[in-house]
Amino acid sequence: MDFITSLFPWITNGPLVTVQVMSGLSVGMFLFLVSVGMSLIFGVTRIVNLAHGSFYMVGAYLMVTMVEILPDRSWAFWIALLVAPLGVAALGGVIEVGLLRLIYRRDPLMQLILTFGLILVISTLVLLAWGPDNKSVARPEALAGSVRILGQPFPSYYLLVLGLSPLVAVGLWLIFYRTRWGMLIRAATVDREMLGALGVDVAALYTQVFVFGSWLAGFGGALAAPTVAVALGMDADVLTTAFVVVVIGGLGSFAGSFISALLVGELQSFGILIFPAVSIVLLFALMAVVLIVRPWGLLGRPEE
């Protein structure tokens, strides 16, 4: 124990550790919103959507625009938070109907390459629409400051994120396990052909799932906009981390994404304390270990 405390002196600082755990949870929450959508889309359509980070970025930029054009009232932020993800969902719908539909029967690698092409197109369009400078979104007045938790300052906006996370997780669980639509989604992840043979319109389900997954990414981006500099390059950063989350949790697994997002959030939060320089390497090392020991992720299913 003495050895550990001499190595990591902060470990006996209870309040610091608590705040660190909480900020890890809120980071994990953003990651969960992005990765659960990515995982959901993969589960149903078998496409690994590399453009998912781009959807997150578009959500954040739409948030910037919405906050700018709405009148400066206390409710403007919340309206923007509702509308911006809808824009991303619409974008996802256009992409699914216009492009992905054409290639569902193709080699999975062709699908990966196509979604990579989307990254390039979307990032250039964002650059043209919003320009090269970083943007920022002001936090709503009620949540602009910080609160003290065990004497440590903690931004109150993160409390919102922490409060929303169980809501979103429970909401998704209800959708997946208590609605007919959720049942169809779970059936599609197991056997799409059988689902089609039973008379379900699988093509429509694909579109709905893709739109819903895009909405989740857009919501994540819109919610994250006040906590980060909204900038080009967000897409790649989020994509790589979400990718790690999805792979660790298991592609197509809802619970896997949740556990792994929180795990990765905490790892990032504490990685900075333990190995400041190489916290990202930790992340990828964890992913590599998981892929070697359980190539299909903690809660995923082996590839057919």
């Binding site: 080699d107 990966l112 196509l114 250039t124 990828f284």
Partner: protein, 309 residues
């Protein structure tokens, strides 16, 4: 394979190019040759081995950084540092490939990407050795190779030798065994081929030649940057091979030619729009031309068909 006559004509044309082309175009041709080598090495895995790596920038960068570090930090002359580039990349490919070839398809692609991100992060963060974001500058070849014409001939000769070696590997019993593994791993195992060892060897060879391309590029560019290992760089050989046609040995080379010319034409006019065009081209090729442009021309005589995966 191109007939000997056409190859001779091509060689003569490239050899005489410095007499008519201004230095700028020689630099463009040098870049085409290097990218062509990178994509051909990559395609040994994709086209012939049926393994698609999403992280080949790692080996390009390992080669580039190995050569650059030797020159800058140890004062080794360039002509001795360059051969180390493929060796360093091969060592990296052996270490990572050992794990990567255990997986298939999507998971293979993703683990290769993960390892490449590790390489990128290490290069980016290890400032005292690699210079981090600032890269390593002043990585020039010796005076007699410094002019565009001299380096053009040098790079062309090295690339030609590498392509001949890769060609020999593809045509060797190992190359055919690799194709057999691609077509049907289970049957390949039944006839006594050690599938994993063949895949790992192909991975290492592909990594080594990618490292050679990286080393050549380091001295062409005069500097190396962490971007060399970034995931967008990993897509370059993929896109190039796809454009040219992954089914043929020379497809990636043709793809490199088309890719670089296009990049030059578009980024000269509208530099901001280049990624937009590239993305649109990639999407169009995937949707409309799964065989690449070579497939469009239908130039089947170019090479032994590697068939569909």
């Amino acid at each position: 394979m191109l007939s000997a006559r056409w190859l001779g004509l091509l060689a003569a044309g490239l050899g005489l190019a410095p007499l008519v082309l201004p230095p700028f175009f020689l630099q463009l041709l040098t870049e085409i040759a290097i990218v062509g080598l990178f994509a051909t090495a990559f395609n040994l895995l994709m086209g012939f081995g049926g393994m698609v790596s999403f992280g080949h920038a790692a080996y390009f960068a390992l080669g580039a950084y190995a050569a650059a570090l030797l020159v800058r930090r140890a004062g080794v002359p360039m002509l001795l540092a360059l051969p180390v580039a493929p060796l360093a990349a091969a060592a990296g490919a052996l270490l990572f490939g050992f794990f990567i070839v255990r997986l298939t398809h999507t998971y293979f692609a993703m683990l290769s990407l993960a390892f490449a991100q590790i390489v990128f992060t290490v290069i980016f963060k290890w400032k005292s050795l690699t210079g981090g974001d600032d890269g390593l500058l002043d990585v020039w070849p010796p005076a007699f190779l410094k002019s565009p014409v001299a380096y053009y001939y040098f790079a062309l000769a090295v690339v030609a030798l590498c392509l001949l070696a890769l060609r020999a590997i593809v045509e060797s019993p190992f190359g055919y065994a690799l194709t057999a593994v691609r077509e049907n791993p289970r049957r390949a195992r039944f006839i006594g081929i050690n599938v994993r060892r063949h895949q790992l060897l192909a991975f290492v060879v592909s990594g080594a030649f990618s490292g050679m391309a990286g080393g050549l590029f380091a001295f062409y560019n005069g500097s190396v940057f962490p971007d060399f290992a970034y995931f967008t760089k990993s897509f370059e050989p993929l896109v190039v091979a796809l454009l040219g046609g992954a089914q043929s040995f020379l497809g990636p080379l043709a793809g490199a030619f088309g890719f670089k010319i296009l990049e030059w034409l578009i980024s000269r006019q509208w530099p901001v729009y280049w990624p937009l065009f590239l993305g649109a081209i990639v999407i169009a090729v995937v949707v409309a031309l799964p065989q690449g442009f070579v497939g469009l021309v239908g130039a089947r005589a170019w090479t032994r068909s590697a068939g569909r995966r």
